[in-house]
Symmetry: C2
Subunit: 242 residues, 2 copies
Amino acid sequence: MTLNLMAVRALLTLYAQNGFSVSVKVSTPALARTLGTSQQSASRILIRLEKEGLIERRSVGRVTFVRVTELGLNKLLDLYTDLRAVIERPMDFVLEGRVFTGFGEGAFYVSLPKYRQQFREKLGFDPFPGTLNVRLLSLDSINNRRLLNRIADVYIEGFKNGSRTYGGLKAIHGTFNDSELCAVLFIERTHYGSDVVEVISPVYLRGRFALKDGDKVRIRVTIPKEKVEREEVGGELVSVGT
Amino acid sequence: MTLNLMAVRALLTLYAQNGFSVSVKVSTPALARTLGTSQQSASRILIRLEKEGLIERRSVGRVTFVRVTELGLNKLLDLYTDLRAVIERPMDFVLEGRVFTGFGEGAFYVSLPKYRQQFREKLGFDPFPGTLNVRLLSLDSINNRRLLNRIADVYIEGFKNGSRTYGGLKAIHGTFNDSELCAVLFIERTHYGSDVVEVISPVYLRGRFALKDGDKVRIRVTIPKEKVEREEVGGELVSVGT
DNA sequence: ATTACTAAATGGCGAGTAG
DNA sequence: TCTACTCGCCATTTAGTAA
């Protein structure tokens, strides 16, 4: 015997109205409205929940009072802890790709004092003067790059030097080849497409891993919680509807 | 269009296998096994989830890879945040009843130094020498008393004094008539039934509220989170089954 | 105003099976 | 092996309606 989603939503709605510590007055039309279903369904669901021992009902004259039982609360807690275990878990975003030689500007930019100082302060390391270019291999990696671009929250500000303008960028910490600290850069006005990432590190990655162009590398970014932005909001209670 | 519970469980299962940052290899028989349903249902659910834009599928030869989309993740986050908003909320347990005069032992016990000292240390106040007896009125209040008895976590230890043994008790902080600090006592070997609570407070409650026997009073206990114990555990992923 | 029954429609389920 | 179709069966839904 398995509850369906509508019954779970009903149970949650009742619980949300303090229906665990206090019996709440519930009419089937009112419950139907908040659940977005029919009065008949609301009636049937209450009967069902009562049969399963998840709620208790008392009729006083014409109005009925409903109270969520401990068994009912435990059902909700089970669902909640299952969801939490999966969702409040660190998420790994892996970027896999092949090293290639870029336009060679990386070393110049990273060495600029105004950038370099910000890297030191905001990333916590003094970057090797140069960026490693990685062309992403899989669709998953390209998708992860797009997501990380949104999640990255280390902002390196641009600046002006006479007539020349230097753009801003965002960065996020990662692990290179599962061993070296690094940061993935998301440069505002880059020459590269969305299948390329530029990486800096306190160490000389090409030397450290004896990398030649075409070698496969892996960058792993771990996001502590559900920091992933939410496009839509949805709104209503238990909104798994469409 | 509303997803049913099985579809939500499928989405959560896919997401749990890192199916958001990486496409995971999924076969309909394997998914069916973990969901406890048939291969046909697993197939139907994947088709449905894809149609709704919650997952993306790619076939590489015979194996298919599934990836949860951002929309899919948001559906899970919606459900999760809805549940969290309701469950991780302070809970109020209200005990309503009428004052009555007991056997008059309260004053004696509370005044015993070994009890009094523990009250001071563990409850943070010096109790007025006497307990107020309240006979609970509603079924809800009696039920709440039972729950609070389980939740109460201030343990006052018993002791011996010569041949006489003084029993232990549990207590929990509350608010008396929505204004005065108090503590509800759960005494191990009490003369009263489960429809009675004994209350202590730093102030003389009978005087403070000019209480006569039979007067209605209200004790409110606020539990910060879901501290409510769980009888059963349940186990499996999204276990709303029976 | 309620609650909840019956009946008919809709939709989900799994066995069988094709590709 | 796999995916996904059809089909009979059962569960869930809503409309109508009784109490």
